[in-house]
């Protein structure tokens, strides 16, 4: 019986002597937020897992956008020259553009040009003696040794001689073929109507230099002109060699616009643009990126709706409780901060699990999957994911602010 219990406890209880007083110093909003999450772990963990899945999806879409984008334009993006020269009226299409080597001196003579290198772009494939190994399609890039356009080798050395049978292979080629510096490999290219095979030696390995969704192999420009696929057999005359674009390194990179105008004035029938304009004009790049951006935005929107829906239901279930807290003297600001902190807790947890999951999953992907995580893109994705929580809870927050303490007494709207 309750009355008996009361009588049985008539003597004052001894004061607890333990020195640890949990919760004494914690401000009320984080205290309330944490207690609710902690005592309803299952429910909140479930929402965190949904956020984690959204995080995985956003990060993979991001990585895919980065990877596919890089696969298309990585070589152009990493060119040493600040300006790229295209043939006039080709809509900045590198494959359609033609710049002859005879123009090189004309370009070099323009004030403000520090260096220039012509670049030829075509495709070929690396073939292997073993039939088990599939040929690897590559972008075959003709460059001028030691000029802008030649990829910097992080292993081995750069190219020497304009017609040597040397190659600097991109990291992706090395990963996918196992080729190392000093190895020889065979390129297959169609000359006229015949397959021709050329043996090259790997003298260096550069970082990722993909172009047109293929890993790249850079060779000296005359070698390139000899082995690139052609509709007729090359007679070896290099007096007016045609390549595709020119990579121009300028003395004052801060005045790129002026420099581009000057180049277009002084060198006839060329169009000069910065690297970003050049790679954004690559075929399919913009369409591909905008598609992936749309997927990313919709994924984030789904996240906003999921979090918004969850917290709206939570808030509706807690109207009486919130009214009671306001009635006993909890400031609306205190309750609102506790609510926002709760969203922040579960969003942080969800995003944390999502990042860990993404990292674990990405380790299991083969190198052929074009997913690239860069610190900038990951940070941007994480920041946007952390924002969706509070944005999703905004409607519920406004609703919560409007709950009147009178509801505790069954009065009020």
């Amino acid at each position: 019986m309750y009355t008996e219990t009361l009588e049985g406890r008539a003597e004052p209880r001894p004061v607890s002597l333990d020195l640890h007083v949990p919760g004494v110093g914690v401000p009320l909003p984080p205290y309330l937020a944490f207690k609710e999450v902690w005592r309803n772990k299952g429910r909140f963990l479930l929402v965190s897992l949904v956020i984690a899945l959204i995080t995985v999806l956003v990060l993979f879409v991001d990585g895919l956008a980065e990877g596919l984008g890089a696969g298309n334009i990585e070589y152009i993006q990493k060119l040493e020259g600040e300006l790229i020269l295209f043939q006039e009226n080709v809509d900045l299409s590198a494959s359609a553009s033609q710049v002859s080597r005879s123009r090189l001196n004309e370009i070099r003579r323009v004030d403000g040009v520090e260096d220039v290198g012509l670049v030829g772009l075509s495709s070929a494939s690396i073939v292997f003696e073993s039939e088990d190994k599939e040929p690897l399609d590559i972008s075959l890039i003709g460059v001028e040794p030691n000029r802008p356009g030649e990829p910097a080798a992080y292993a081995g050395r750069g190219l020497k001689g304009k017609r040597s049978d040397e190659a600097v292979i991109g990291k992706n080629v090395a990963l996918r073929t196992g080729l190392e510096v000093g190895d020889q490999f065979t390129i297959k290219s169609i000359q006229g109507t015949d397959d021709e095979f050329y043996t090259l030696e790997v003298v260096g390995i550069s970082d990722g230099q993909q172009y047109f969704l293929r890993p790249s192999v850079a060779v000296p420009y005359l070698t390139w002109d000899r082995i690139r696929p052609q509709g007729f057999v090359d007679d070896g005359d290099d007096t007016d060699l045609i390549l595709n674009i020119a990579s121009v390194k300028v003395e004052q990179p801060e005045n790129l616009e002026q420099m581009a105008e000057r180049l277009e004035d002084r060198v006839s029938k060329v169009e000069a643009v910065d690297r970003k304009t050049a790679y954004e004009a690559s075929p399919g790049y913009s369409a591909q990126q905008s598609t992936l951006n749309t997927v990313r935005i919709f994924t984030l929107l789904i996240g906003v709706l999921v979090i918004g829906g969850f917290f709206q239901i939570q808030t509706l279930q807690k109207v009486g409780q919130i009214g009671m807290l306001k009635a006993i003297g909890a400031a609306t600001g205190t309750i609102a901060i506790a609510f926002v902190l709760q969203i922040v807790y579960i969003t942080l947890l969800g995003v944390g699990i999502g990042i860990a999951g993404t990292l674990a999953l990405s380790l299991s992907f083969p190198v052929t999957v074009p997913i690239v995580f860069t610190p900038q893109s990951v940070l941007l994705a994480v920041a946007s994911l952390l924002i969706i929580g509070p944005v999703g809870g905004l409607v519920s927050l406004i609703y919560l602010l409007r709950i009147e303490p009178l509801t505790a007494l069954g009065l009020g709207a």
Partner: protein
């Protein structure tokens, strides 16, 4: 004895479809320290609206309410919130406790709200809970308690910060008869012992045997006030037979 609470000619009107509804009509009430008052009356008589005004949750249309020497009508919203936090103890019919805080935390919440949580105040909270027979339930969540136990935790929370006035809205609505009597008796004892001013809104007229004054409301106004103990007891006994 000086009254802790004075409500002078308090009126509350609402406009509904161009009609003026007088929810509370010219009500004056005084409650002294150590006095336990029951506000009774049928549904719609205005007792809960009156309680809301006494708690500073609702502003009167006319009249004044003075608690501890301060007039509620002259306070802004934030001052009224602070006033409720510091000077009022509250128990409600439902949603009394925070479901994710255990018994001890629910009571300490009042101290935390008032920034008065210390080793000493925590010990005081434990003492109040012990007086209410809840020492063995400190770590239980509200969902693990019976309705009577939940009401007792709410009473402990209402008293722990030593308020000037304790307001109880239908504190026994969800309890069986035996529990209801126990809860109100305990409540009355604590109010008397701690010299607090207590007002309880109830529709259960059998429970008024524990109070010092009955204010019976009808249609927003005061129908009858009973202060004589024998009159109160006979009023309670009359309803005991129902």
């Amino acid at each position: 004895m000086t009254a802790v609470l004075e409500a002078n000619s308090v009126t509350k009107t609402y406009e509904v479809d161009s009609n003026i509804i007088r929810a509370v009509d010219d009500v004056s009430v005084e409650v002294c320290p150590g006095e336990f008052v029951a506000l009774v009356g049928p549904s719609g008589s205005g007792k809960t609206t009156m309680l809301a005004m006494l708690a500073g949750l609702l502003a009167p249309t006319e009249g004044s309410i003075i608690i501890g020497g301060r007039e509620l009508g002259q306070m802004n919203e934030s001052e009224r919130t602070k006033f409720r936090r510091q000077k009022v103890g509250f128990t409600f019919q439902s949603n009394n406790l925070v479901p994710y805080l255990n018994v001890r935390e629910n009571v300490e919440l009042m101290l935390k709200l008032n920034n008065r949580l210390s080793r000493e105040s925590k010990a005081h909270a434990e003492e109040v809970l012990a007086q209410l027979g809840l020492s063995e339930r400190l770590k239980n969540l509200p969902s693990q308690l019976s309705g009577g136990q939940q009401q007792r935790v709410a009473i402990a929370r209402a008293l722990v910060h030593s308020p000037d006035i304790v307001l109880a809205d239908e504190p026994t609505a969800s309890l069986d008869t035996e529990r209801a009597f126990q809860v109100v008796e305990t409540f009355a004892n604590l109010i008397h012992n701690q010299e607090l001013a207590g007002i309880m809104v109830t529709h259960d007229l059998r429970l008024v045997q524990f109070v010092d004054k009955i204010i019976q409301m009808r249609d927003g106004g005061i129908a009858r006030v009973m202060t004589d103990k024998s009159e109160i007891n006979s009023f309670a006994n009359a309803h005991m037979m129902v």
